[in-house]
Amino acid sequence: MSKTIVIQPVTRIEGHAKITIQLDDAGNVDRARVNVIELRGFERFCKGRPVEDMPRIVTRICGVCPWSHHLAAAKACDAVFGVEPPPAGRKLRELCNSIAYMEEHILHFYFLAGADFLVGPDADYTERNVLGIVKAAPEIAQRVVRVRHLCARMLEILAGKAIHPQVAVPGGFSKPLLPEEQKALCAMAAEAHDLARFSIAFAKENVFPKYLDLVKSLGTITTGFIGTVDDKGALNLYDGKLRLMAQDGTLEEFPYDRYTDYIAEHVESWSYLKFPYAKKWGPFSMDLDHPSGIYRSNTLARMNVCECIDTPLAQAELEEFRRNFGRPAQLTLLYHWARLIELLYNSENAMRLLNDPEITSPETRVKVEPRAARGVGSVEAPRGTLIHDYETDADGMVTSVNLIVGTTHNNAPINMSVTQAAKTRIKNGEYDQGVMNTIEMAIRAYDPCLSCATHRLDGRLFVKVDIVDAWGQLLDSFAN
């Protein structure tokens, strides 16, 4: 009798998801589906509001990556108003982006995915979390905590507040950086840079070699990639052109406001979330052996699409990465490795920006005037390419909003990786907690941020596994 295994939600990723694994009569995986809850009603809420409110509103969408939404919205507003921020305004925005990246990537590597690697995927659930890590590696944990503090403090200094930033405004940045603040930030950025250098060296020596077999087998799929590059093809997380790389490595580039010419959105009846795909590679198919139209975003994608990285240490790491895994690298767990290269890049980039004399210029914004226009802003969020697309009327009021968030780009690949992981890890109906976690690991590699919907304090969410037969009859149910 065929069975369905349901795992919900995936723990230790942002938001919650339900994984449904459909077994066939022999107890082997027929297919896997990852269902997520999507934030609904946002466009309706925004319509009729002044577009300059968008950078402030969008930080409320997501408590996990507010800076990415904030900056993408500010850039979309720049485009709507037809202005370019002055150099200091642009550089301050990019600096905030790099610091926010460091905070996120450190959190993910050490405390979210880290539990899988530092404590071990088969460890008991009560140990496989952040406190398990603190116990397993207390000195590293303290250092990591210190740098996360520093990143939060740096953003507090730059934005004038700890969370829900409002400092990026249409036309620039509202708070010039004072020379004494610059000095304090330089010292903090240097400490963060030390941890970034340590992290990749530590992972290459102690973490990745131990799990290389897993890296080579878990969740592996073959897809194209998307990311942002500058005019020379170098990695850029704040600004540039979007670049799509097909499976065979061929590239095409386009400006943000032409994304609809290149990206279409497929709909599946079983998922709230759409499935973006590359129009020219279509039709859309998640068939593991013959995928079509599928691309991935986030760290690994960015490492693949760029020609180079314009900071020396990260560039050296990229070269080593490519010597080991080629270009494009396809192994899903390499997202973690790529994340650490990005951590290093951001630490170098933050120091470079802070040492730029122009960054303390008091000229940080230009005046804007409302007009009827369309503006598309994009940044590379830690979790993937983030696109904000606004239209306004002559009074500058919003008439339409479309957002494609990083995780949405990865919707199809996540489903494919889970199917692949499930197929190799569940045989003849046999599975245990360690096997379940390896399937979750395939999802976690993408660092997805799945939902920013309502929350409750009463702890309603927990992981639940239901086993259901082909006719929807519940055969078994347990929480691990």
Binding site: G15, H16, G41, T126, V130, V145, S451, T454, L457
Partner: protein
Amino acid sequence: MEDSGTPEFCRKPVLILGCGNVFFGDDGFGCAAIEYMQSRCEMPEHVCLLDGGTGVRKLLFTLLLSAVRPARLLIIDAVDTGRTPGELVEIRPSELPVKKLDDFAMHEVPSSNLLEELRRSGMEVRILGCQTGPLPDQICPGMCGPVEAAVPKAAEWIAREYFTRL
């Protein structure tokens, strides 16, 4: 400029943390309470008021692992414990249902586990909840009358409990 590199919410002896999603009706109660106090109350030096929105778990995570942290933490949040909408109730961390596997994710604010760990580490942890009405399933900001009316009452309670140094 001397700067310890520790964020303010870790440094002050008292942290009052509002949480919720302002886009979802009564769920925004905690954020509204913080905003109300920030605009109307004179803040004592030892208190940090912070609207954590949907990012509270990340802040708690930082607190849990931080060497420098407040002695007293108050969480203000929307709850559903079957009471009348707008009713304020103090909940102990230990009274929250322990759903073990919602632990240590970032969004689903604030996991009972994180709060319990903070309490075990010696921090005074209290939760002030406000009973919500039905929550919208799509974005729809704005609280119902009774929950809105509970905001000043919550502010009064907080001032009484936390604004005078013990």
